[in-house]
Assembly symmetry: C2
Homo-oligomer: 255 residues x 2
């Protein structure tokens, strides 16, 4: 049965999508069956895998509006064990369309439950906000992975995110846990990089992954080729750091 | 009479807030009277100026919900000619509260119009989405400034943003123009940096500012001291590049 992990942080540009694609691909390389769900109307996860979301093909929007079942919308990627539920720009409209529904926070959960037996991990890429789309992902998820960029503004929104998790636990998803906190785009050479690392460790303690993701231009290049970093440049520091995080992520199961 | 400029791009982490704070401060240094409006519930603009939004003090939320006039909520900064309308986390709720109003897209415009005589420029910092808050900023604005990060994903959402501008022009704000496109966090040493610059120039032509903002850690450090870069480290490449952009921004008026 799959563990469902929401990758969330309302701060923009902190590496949510880069983490979903590359942690997902690294887990698939470690023989895990992985589904990525692109729940951001920007669809960076879909295009970063070269999937572009063709017109007429069903997407996460069609799934949450009840037009198709999730299994029907799933597509393959260049890695056999990595599959994708593509996103769509129309998801932006779903935020408004879902508001009127009675169980509006449970729509994604209901759609993903039937898929649990088919995967080991389902990773959900969230938009940079705490609206209904991210709320749906937090309700569907067993755990949340929080990417934090190694810079000042990045710590700013964390307490707001933790308050949101608390509110989700109170009514909608009592067992939601923080699986881990991943430091991204870290430049260890600068004071700021070291200062934020120390502060994040103080705030989250053992939840912080020991492996950090360095700033590495190959990670920013890979999406324009529609490939995860391990297919684009396996020798790069970016690829090696995500393989390391995947090892730590999997070691968590044994705890 | 102030020109009102929305600084917008739904892609997260591309330098919207850093541009609002530092272009604003550079314009104030050039003797222009400037108001910054923090219209993002993350309130990075407010905290990046050390203004922390004290409890009980009015914010942009109180203005758009009709509790106070904008002038009452405005506070000073360390630069005499730079003032701030602080943001608030409650703005996230405003997205839902405003939806029911008849002229929900015109609320910010109505609030800012009385302030026009008091400033030369009003810069509005937008959240990373194309929801009602950003829509309000685009309707209130005379022009929009689009920061684009020098990386692949950053170009992804641009056509969606341009479609949104088109929709705003059709009904809500016919005269809305693109004032300029600013390349941010550019690392000219990498292929990706050069590739994106070329693509942005091809897409936007003369609208692209010749001055680009390099990746410079001093820009990321300054907000933790609550200061614009020109008060934190005037000699840095970050400060110098924003002063240059301010010159180009002002030269636009004479065209
Ligand atoms: N470790 C890294 N080194 C260099 N560039 C990176 C790294 N991680 C991500 N990037 C680049 O930084 C930008 C932001 O990353 P990404 O799009 O993954 O963030 P996000 O949190 O998903 O953004 P959004 O909030 O818009 O969804 C992208 O252009 C990406 O390619
Ligand atoms: N030129 C630069 N060089 C280095 N770091 C930068 C630069 N510009 C911005 N930053 C840093 O990058 C991060 C993202 O910038 P910023 O918060 O201004 O983007 P944004 O578009 O406002 O984000 P959001 O979408 O969350 O509102 C911040 O931590 C900021 O300090
Ligand atoms: Mg993303
Ligand atoms: Mg911002």
């Amino acid at each position: 049965m799959a563990r469902i992990i929401a990758v969330a942080n309302q701060k923009g540009g902190v590496g949510k999508t880069t983490t979903v694609i590359n942690l997902g691909a690294s887990l698939a390389a470690a023989e895990k069956r992985v589904l990525l769900v692109d729940f951001d109307p920007q669809t960076n996860c879909t295009s970063g895998l070269g999937a572009r979301g063709e017109p007429g093909r069903p997407s996460a929007y069609d799934v949450v509006t009840g037009k198709v079942g999730a299994a029907e919308a799933v597509v393959g990627t260049e890695l056999a064990l990595l599959q994708l539920l593509p996103g769509s720009i129309s998801l932006a409209g779903a935020e408004v369309e879902l508001v009127a529904l009675d169980r509006r926070e449970f729509v994604l959960k209901a759609a993903l439950e039937p898929l649990r037996p088919d995967y080991d991990y389902i990773l959900v890429d969230c938009p940079p906000s705490l609206g209904l789309l991210t709320l749906n992902a937090l309700v569907a998820a067993d755990e949340v992975l929080i990417p934090i960029q190694g810079e000042y503004f990045a710590m700013e929104g964390v307490s707001e995110l933790l308050r949101t998790l608390e509110r989700v636990r109170e009514g909608l998803n009592p067992d939601l846990a923080v699986r881990g906190v991943l430091l991204t785009m870290v430049d260890e050479r600068t004071n700021l990089g070291r200062q934020v690392s120390t502060e994040v460790q103080r705030f989250f303690g053992r939840k912080v992954y020991r492996s950090v993701i360095p700033r590495n231009v190959r990670l920013a290049e890979a999406p324009s080729f529609g490939k995860p970093i391990l297919l684009y440049d396996i020798a790069s520091r970016g690829a090696q750091s995500y393989l390391q995080v995947a090892q730590e992520f999997l070691a968590h199961e044994q705890r």
